[in-house]
């Protein structure tokens, strides 16, 4: 009896699916998630449209779903903490998703922080590379690589604390990790002349040197949960952590951000891009769905309004670093005219 009822419900569900979806479906990056959700909630509460649903799938997973096709069963917007790749655009095109609008929304700083119970630290990207890479140049000189011999920070540089190297950071599946490796490790790696020269001669080897994090326990993969890293740092003043700026902002009574290359990770320094370890955040919109799904135009307008992404907007309150005025103007113009994505630009 019960079973027939449920089967009937399932059949009704299948029939109902033919109808249009009346809420926006958003997927993508877990870094953009805390910002996109604020906009979605604001949008849902101040308009008559339903609140969009936002899935935190990671940038890659989100773009995969996004590019799967056109139609109500596919998401309308994909958030990403990196730019869409050429291969992903090709995949989109194969599935009929040709017209995509790219919107850059702001920046996220990646901080290298420790507990306030320990002293503040000043570190350069080169020192981060030497402390965390799997292979580093031989400390005795010469252009050879040795497995990372450094056990204490003071082994890397006498100015750093004399504690053992212990860094808690995200695992390789995370976009934060990708960005940290690319900006901090590779950024430091490039400072070493002969490795930089290798980029032209043997790009693969160059990438392997600059992008491989040591696996002997000095870098601890602490999972995707940044709150966990915050708690562990609070309990262990000797350790450092790698996570997004918004978590430092929320926990400034417990943690302090390390000064990287002479620049402290503050809101202002990340906004004017003098802080070296920051990355842009994006979302991508399926043009075919604008107009087909109710509220798309209004959601885009809400996200790109000054009260959301401006320097005084509510996204800045949540820890997102706004773009400079000119850039905001360009992108809000793109959104209004729904200009197609052009990978060659900027």
């Amino acid at each position: 009896m019960k079973r027939t009822l449920v089967l009937a419900a399932a059949a009704a569900a299948l029939a109902g699916q033919a109808q249009a979806r009346d809420y926006i479906s958003i997927v993508g990056s877990s870094t953009v998630y805390p910002f996109a959700t604020v906009v979605a909630e604001q949008f849902g509460k101040t308009t008559d449209f339903k609140t969009p649903t936002i899935e935190s799938t990671g940038s890659g997973g989100g773009l995969k779903l996004f590019c799967a096709g056109i139609g109500v069963e596919h998401p309308d917007v994909a958030n990403a903490s990196r730019r869409i790749k050429k291969s992903e655009i090709e995949k989109c095109a194969r599935n009929g998703v040709n017209d995509v609008v790219e919107v850059k929304i702001g920046y996220d700083g990646i901080v290298f922080a420790n507990s306030r119970k320990a002293g503040p630290v000043r570190i350069s990207r080169e020192q981060i590379f030497l402390a965390l890479a799997k292979e580093v140049p031989d400390p005795n000189g010469g252009e050879t690589l040795v497995p990372n011999p450094y056990m204490k920070w003071s082994d890397v540089d006498a100015s750093l604390p004399g504690t053992g190297i212990e860094v808690l950071g995200p695992p390789p599946t995370s976009g934060t990790r990708d960005a940290f490796v690319e900006l901090a490790l590779e950024g430091g790696c490039k400072k070493i002349g002969w490795i930089k020269a290798m980029r032209k001669t043997d790009k693969k080897r160059y990438k392997a040197i600059c992008h491989t994090v040591r696996e002997d326990g000095a870098y601890v993969e602490a999972g995707e949960n940044d709150n966990l890293i915050v708690q562990k740092l609070d309990a262990n003043p000797a350790a450092f952590g790698v996570f997004g700026y918004s978590f430092l902002d929320q926990n400034s009574d417990k943690l302090q951000g390390g000064v990287v290359d002479g620049v402290a990770p503050t809101f202002e320094n990340i906004a004017d891009q003098s802080y070296p370890v920051s990355r842009p955040l994006y979302f991508y919109v399926k043009k075919a769905h604008v107009g087909a799904i109710p509220g798309m135009t209004e959601y885009l307008a809400e996200f790109t309004s000054e009260k959301a992404w401006g320097p005084e907007g509510y996204l800045a309150d949540k820890g997102m670093i706004p773009m400079p005025d000119a850039e905001r103007k360009t992108f809000s113009g793109d959104v209004k005219s729904l200009s197609n994505l052009n990978l060659a630009a900027n």
Partner: protein
């Protein structure tokens, strides 16, 4: 000297040794139980210690003037105009009037930051419910911002240097003044039980997740219990023992041990991609969890059927009952307590599951409370996972509070199982 074999010196020593061994053996068992209780106690203490403050929320009393000018209404009083009116402006004006000495853009921003952004929604609801409020002045209690809430609850140290905390010196001064005037109060946090998810901790609640879990489990129970019991009855009472049924049995046991994420992948491929069911829907979640709990229920039900003594079946058949009558009148009622236990264990497993829901889109930010099987929704453990990953300090206590709600559901379910079992057992 007594030379009896029972009192010889060697025997006495051996006996002492044996008794000591027995005492140690008992002590090991008692230690194991004590360890388990201590672990459970530590878990409960940590969750309750972290979470009990979430059941209270700081409120601020504001003197709100529903001034048509500030609301941007003009002469219009229709529902559309009232719905779109400038309620945040009214809240800001009330704050400015309470602290008229505050000037400067930044200081004003900090002043407005004391009150939750949800305050304007409360005013909007009130005006929509009673348009006569426009032009009136009322004292209204509105929720405080999550940072203020944390400060009032003592989770933020007022004596820390200003740069190291999110609530600034002038904000603390304003809050202290409000506290002295009796205009700040901690109240029972009803929002936590009536609202869906929110990115503002003070506006976030578990109702949406609880409703999602309810619909999901409804589908799971409605499908897995009848199917599981029918499968168990067939396999135990009717199926011949041959290679095919052996194969089925091995497969069922195997399925019970398959990691749940696999069922999520299956659900994504079959229910969403092939049948075209919507993502994030409790119906799909329920179908996936049905697949996951079926093996557990079938195995438990078969064990329950096996434990019914054959004499009962033989007696029934001997009295002329048909096979079906034997099963439905005699065997099933006797096996029902065991089957129910298995089902409840399966349901409890399903209630605590997040991994398969990830694949079918139920790990998502969903504000609206779902009203049916096809509305987008999440589930309780997913809500806990999402909150645990949020940067705001106030979500830490809400995470623990949501865990308490989940535990309460689990305890209720288990208690229900015990009661139902007792009922059935008394009849036989």
């Amino acid at each position: 000297m007594d030379t009896s074999i029972h009192t010889s010196e060697a025997m006495v020593r051996r006996r002492a040794k044996r008794r000591a061994a027995e005492r140690r053996f008992r002590a090991y068992g008692a230690t194991a139980v004590a360890l388990a209780i201590a672990a459970l106690g530590a878990l409960f203490a940590s969750i309750i210690g972290n979470g009990y403050t979430a059941f209270q929320q700081t409120y601020i009393e504001l003197e709100i003037t529903y001034d048509p000018e500030t609301l941007g209404l003009g002469e219009a009083r229709d529902a559309a105009a009232l719905s779109a009116a400038n309620y945040p402006g009214v809240v800001k004006k009330a704050m400015r009037e309470t602290f008229p000495e505050v000037t400067g853009r930044r200081a004003k921003r900090r002043l407005y930051g004391i009150v939750s952004s949800g305050a304007s929604f409360i005013l909007r609801e009130r005006v929509l419910a009673d348009p006569g409020l426009v032009g009136e002045t009322r004292r209204v209690w509105v929720p405080a911002d999550d940072d203020v809430d944390m400060l009032v609850k003592g989770h933020i140290d007022r004596d820390a240097p200003e740069a190291e905390r999110r609530v600034k010196d002038d904000q603390i001064a304003w809050i202290t003044r409000l506290e002295r005037a009796g205009r700040i109060e901690k109240r029972f946090n009803t929002t936590f039980f009536t609202a869906g998810d929110s990115r503002e901790p003070e506006l976030a609640g578990v109702r949406g997740a609880a409703a999602g879990s309810f619909f999901t489990l409804l589908v799971t129970l409605a499908l897995s219990f009848p199917i599981g019991v029918a499968a168990a009855v067939y396999l135990e009472e009717f199926a011949p023992t041959n290679r095919l049924t052996d194969l089925i049995e091995v497969n069922i046991n195997n399925l019970a041990a398959v990691p749940s994420i696999i069922f999520g992948l299956l659900g994504l491929a079959v229910f969403i991609n092939f049948f075209g069911l919507p993502r994030s829907a409790p119906l799909v979640g329920g179908l996936v969890l049905t697949l996951m709990t079926l093996p557990t229920i079938i195995i438990a039900s078969r064990a329950a059927l096996k434990s019914v003594p054959p004499s009962i079946r033989e007696a029934a058949l001997g009295m002329g009952a048909s096979k079906m009558q034997t099963i439905t009148h005699h065997v099933l009622p006797l096996a029902m307590p065991g089957m129910l236990t298995g089902t409840i264990i399966g349901m409890a497993q399903a209630l605590g599951e997040t991994a398969p829901l990830l694949m079918i889109g139920m790990v998502a930010f969903i504000v609206d409370v779902p009203g049916g099987l096809l509305d987008p929704s999440t589930a309780l453990p997913v809500q806990i996972f999402l909150w645990a990953d949020s940067p705001e300090r106030a979500f830490i206590e809400r995470t623990s509070a949501a865990i308490m709600v989940l535990l309460a559901f689990l305890i209720t379910m288990n208690a229900l199982a015990v009661v139902l079992r007792r009922r059935f057992e008394r009849r036989w």
